[in-house]
Symmetry: C2
Subunit: 231 residues, 2 copies
């Protein structure tokens, strides 16, 4: 692979010159995971980090009774499995490929060496971690402050921003997301999601066909995402 193509896919290496690239290249191991396969389980020992080249994965925490909480869906360019690298503890979540996925795998020592020599990398990693903390903090706040309708509206907007494809005035979410997935993302049951989706559809805010969601009236959704149930 060329440096240019790598940089295009993995923003972490944006500032690299060709000499750095040569030494880096040796450390990267490409891995391929068919859809459905588990990259690693919560509780596993973990000493490496994945850079997603292609595909999509879901990051989940399983409950003791078989349910799961979906913390995030990550795709090309995202970093994965970094926590265990920095605190030496077991993997904090389970990661599963949603579709065929390729990653570049980097070992703890190599990443540390990289960070020692390239402060850019440190800065980028810190930025990623900071964003993650913000995101989960907000998720937590939403669980406490918003009802299911608002959380759902918010999540649909969020998915639209992340995976959305503009189509005329509308946005279509370019990934297949089941109601069960939505439920696991916002902390609700599948049935509740189904009913709330029906409400949103009846109001003409969204439409769904073939497993994907289209956002029809973004503004009204944004409005719903803000409503606080306890005024």
């Amino acid at each position: 692979m060329s440096l240019e193509k790598l940089q295009l896919k993995i923003p972490l290496f944006a500032g690299f010159g060709s000499s750095e690239f040569k030494s880096l290249e040796k450390c990267l191991v490409r891995r391929r995971y068919p859809g459905g396969q588990t990259l690693f389980h919560m509780g596993d020992e973990g000493g490496s980090l994945h850079l997603i080249e292609r595909g999509r994965v879901k990051v989940t925490i399983p409950s003791s009774s078989g349910e799961e909480l979906i913390l995030a869906i990550r795709g090309a360019g995202d970093i994965l499995g970094e926590l265990s690298l920095f605190d030496g503890k077991p993997r904090s979540a389970t990661v599963q490929a949603l579709e065929e996925t390729e990653t570049l795998c980097l070992h703890r020592e190599d990443l540390l060496a990289l960070m020692r020599n390239h402060f850019d990398v440190v800065e980028k990693i810190l930025e990623v971690l900071a964003r993650r903390i913000r995101e989960t903090d907000m998720l937590l706040a939403d669980r406490d402050f918003l009802d299911i309708t608002s959380r759902l509206a918010k999540k649909i907007l969020d998915l639209g921003d992340t995976f959305g494809i503009r189509e005329g005035g509308q946005v279509r979410i370019g990934v297949k997301i089941t109601q069960k997935d939505l439920a696991s993302m916002i902390g609700a049951t599948r049935e509740s999601i189904n009913k709330q989706l029906k409400v949103l559809r009846d109001q003409g805010l969204v439409r769904f066909s073939g497993g994907t969601i289209e956002i029809l009236k973004r503004e009204r959704l944004v409005q719903k995402a803000r409503i606080f149930p306890k005024p």
Copy 2:
């Protein structure tokens, strides 16, 4: 202040020699906050990091309707306000002193310079961030998977580990925590907390007097913290 005393209080500087200390000392500004005072508000611009020397603060997210979610209580040795430093975004939460608190304040550029020269510091910061992510992820999972009883039991154990003072076979939580605080920590109403506390007290697992909680039967509490409501 001497290097030794600083290192005792702030683990971040554990590996420092006296020459590094001299240059570091210039960058640190001591700040004093009386109890109740706000260090900064969510949404503020933030370009500096605080190292808590003494005292305790609460980190909260306020809702639009006046409630608050308590994300954490931090005390001496902890780091505060680091997120804005790494991603340049506004403060992600509000921080208020619970008692008289002194911090050492370090500006963005100084911390970055410090990290460039001392990789130890980078490693320690990464470790802190990793732990924070783990913590909120688990809080989020608990909100979804556990009922209030379990969350409360877990939080009491957690407080015991953090602020506990061993007294014979028991542990007393050495900070005054109101039921309202507990409610804001685990995402419930004050009344619910009151009722669940009564249950725990009636079962002889905890006792409270003068605003503090004593853990009487740790094992049984641990057991309660594990019960999943949907088996």
